[in-house]
Symmetry: C2
């Protein structure tokens, strides 16, 4: 463990930090997920984004089933130390488990959320095994 690096992080009560993944080429914000100390260290060491899945309660190597791995190009910490911004190269061009480029595919319009982004790949064919954020 790199204690120098980790000591600046303000973990929440569950020992997690929010991590925003941004496409380093398009600037598109792809998703927001969570990391614990282990997943952050694994991300740094491997260069591939590894999150902590709160729903599954285990490490989540992004793209382990779909192949949509996120190659980390740089990482920044915010002023409060409780959010990471990760610039990634999104392999496959798909970050969302619905088969869309970004998880932020519902846009506020006339008082409700409208789907404004198309599915690039059918999730049924995208996963060898079930993967869900």
């Amino acid at each position: 463990m790199n204690t120098q690096l980790l000591q600046h992080i303000k973990w929440n009560n569950d020992g997690l930090i929010a991590a925003i993944a941004q496409d380093c080429n398009s600037g598109r914000v792809l998703m927001m997920a969570w990391m614990n100390a282990e997943s952050l260290q694994l991300s740094i060491d491997s260069g591939d984004a590894v999150y902590w899945s709160r729903s599954r309660g285990k490490l989540w190597r992004k793209g382990e089933s779909s192949g949509n791995v996120q190659k980390i190009r740089s990482m920044a910490l915010d002023c409060d130390g409780d959010t990471l911004l990760i610039q990634v190269e999104q392999l496959g061009g798909i970050a969302c488990h619905t088969g869309r480029q970004s998880c932020f595919y519902r846009t506020l319009s006339e008082g409700d959320w409208k789907i404004t982004e198309k599915v690039l790949k059918d999730p049924a064919t995208m996963y060898q095994h079930v993967e869900k954020a």
Copy 2:
């Protein structure tokens, strides 16, 4: 309250949703903060970003002291319904309470966080009153 809009949101145990503010012109991710139902509704109704300050336990009208208001251009909800991505026009060009454009001004380099963004305005002159995320 717009219940149709709010029912798609998955509030956390504290009744909050994460909100990422992205500069609609540069694509720069500026900050991540939190909203409760009231602050989200106020944001939508007013067109200016209103957050919930967890540290102060009250509504936080971004820029109320500094003048660095965020004019909302669009808003998107992620697949899980627990994170908002808000495209904003950042008045004053400064989102961070440290006087920097973005809160993500510390970049990982050689095993530690290095400050890679300059202060555009001294916080001492930026606030009429104390404002802190």
